[in-house]
Amino acid sequence: MTRAEMSSLERVLTTLGHREPDRVPLFLLVTMHGAKELGLSFEEYFSRAENVVEGQLRLRARYRHDCLLGFFYASIEVEAWGGEVIYREDGPVNSGRPFIRKPEEIATLEPPIVEESARLVEVLRAIEMLKARVGDEVPIIGAVISPLSLPVMQMGFDKYLDLMYEQPELFWQLMRVNEEFCVRWANAQLAAGATAIAYFDPVSSPTITPPESYPSTGFEIARRTLARIKGPSATHLASGRCLPIVDDIARTGTQILGVSALEDLAEVKAACQGRLTVLGNLNGVEMRRWTPERAEMLAKEAIAKAGPGGGFILADNHGEIPWQVPEEVLTAISEAVQRWGRYPLSWVASHD
């Protein structure tokens, strides 16, 4: 029997409660495709909140997914700190030359005031407008880069690792400043109408830093930071592996975990054991050259692995779908969810 149609928000909240909603929720994390919809360059598109709102609403109307994104691009935070970004025609807005040139500069670094950054204010305007348009029908996802991960853009990855291992006092000073900004930025987005905050924390992934260091670094920072963020959060390791630290992640207070394409979704679902909702893990890089048939097959496979019992949202593995992924692939994923994601997933036993 088909269950009564839920709103996107009801669907997501049900799965977060580790129960089965009417169908598997789909988070199609498309930030750049809105520019294509509106026929604008990325620079034009992201210059005005109105464009992003229109882009997000059109994309949702087309693909019927279950969230809207207040997230513009990761390096927007760098702009708030006075750093430069680089626009390109075929991909996300990149952070430019790192703005912390010498570790000693950290000693006098102050967290930016959200309201004083024109770019961040534009994001807040977009969230407010989205909220006014959809109310409580659809979750609006805000985003922050974790205090531990932001320095990759602030000072460059190699210099940051040098700091982490060789100047622990300055490292922790930077963490304190970043925590303050992260909390301010997350809470401003929640106040503007975001339903939840995506906490992007790739540096905590065992792909990047040793899992044995997580309890004293990424975990401790996330626990402190998330406790001060006044709303639910989703931790995303942005394509990095998570399995060795799942138990600790579950204790940070986050509710959702983004899963890498490098890990098996069924294994991660089992490891999350009703504590975390699994978000993932379609391979966004490969997606560019999938056929619609392959997209359907892989979406179906992901649903079979992680869908039963709820606690699962189908999404890409990175938290942002590359601009190069064609419409027909996104449509095929969306249709696969409509076709194969209806609970109860009675076809899954035979699929196995």
Binding site: I86, R88, D90, G91, P92, N94, S95, G96, R97, P98, G156, F157, D158, L161, M164, Y165, P206, T207, I208, T209, P210, P211, S239, R241, A261, L262, N283, G284, V285, E286, R288, R289, N317, P322, W323, Q324
Partner: protein, 193 residues
């Protein structure tokens, strides 16, 4: 990340051996093992990076430039294409230097700048590191413009996540890890241990 212990172990290994022997018997296998560990999810990138840096410093202090030149019979360079994510390039550069290879570091370049440098220097083996998918796709442009005698070796997240991508962009080889970079350098440079 214990430099002092690393130095002690290196000194011990060097006793009664030439610097090249010490590198080949100790540094190379250690770096290959660490690199393979990353590929299998057993080692973190931060550890690969720090190991490469420490080994590079040790090897620099004991290996005369003339030995490096003899080892790299083909001219090699490394670059990060287009974006500012230089860590992958830094790791491969350190690990190759720690393995006794010599190569030019082009830093960050766009396609036009890269092609100019490669032609000026007569580079025969070019390592290209990318983190972002658009940069990885841009390797195809570099391939179009470069003489086919220049072998292109690519690496970085997009190539790890899409196993077909390196062929699509016309690269000659793809490295999944620092261990792969050493093996490929040995195969292509004509001067490997």
């Amino acid at each position: 990340m214990d430099r002092i212990t690393a130095k002690d172990i290196m000194n011990e290994a060097s006793a009664g051996a030439t610097p090249v022997q010490a590198i080949e018997n100790l540094v190379l296998p250690a770096l290959v093992r660490i690199g393979q560990g990353w590929e299998k999810g057993k080692t973190a990138l931060a550890q690969v990076y720090m190991a490469g840096r420490i080994c590079e410093e040790l090897v620099d202090s004991m290996l005369p430039a003339s030995v490096r030149e003899a080892k790299a019979r083909r001219k090699m360079a490394i670059v990060v294409l287009e974006d500012f994510h230089v860590l992958g390039k830094r790791i491969v550069y350190s690990v190759l230097r720690a393995s006794g290879f010599d190569l030019l570091d082009y830093g960050r370049q766009d396609v036009a700048g890269l092609v100019r440098r490669v032609e000026e220097d007569g580079i025969e083996v070019l390592f290209i590191s990318t983190l972002m998918l658009p940069s990885a796709l841009r390797v195809a442009k570099a391939r179009e413009k470069l003489d086919h005698r220049t072998k292109l070796v690519v690496g970085g997240a997009p190539f790890r996540l899409d196993e077909e991508l390196w062929r699509e962009v016309g690269a000659d080889a793809m490295g999944r890890s620092a261990a792969d970079a050493i093996r490929i350098a040995q195969d292509l440079s004509g001067g490997g241990p």
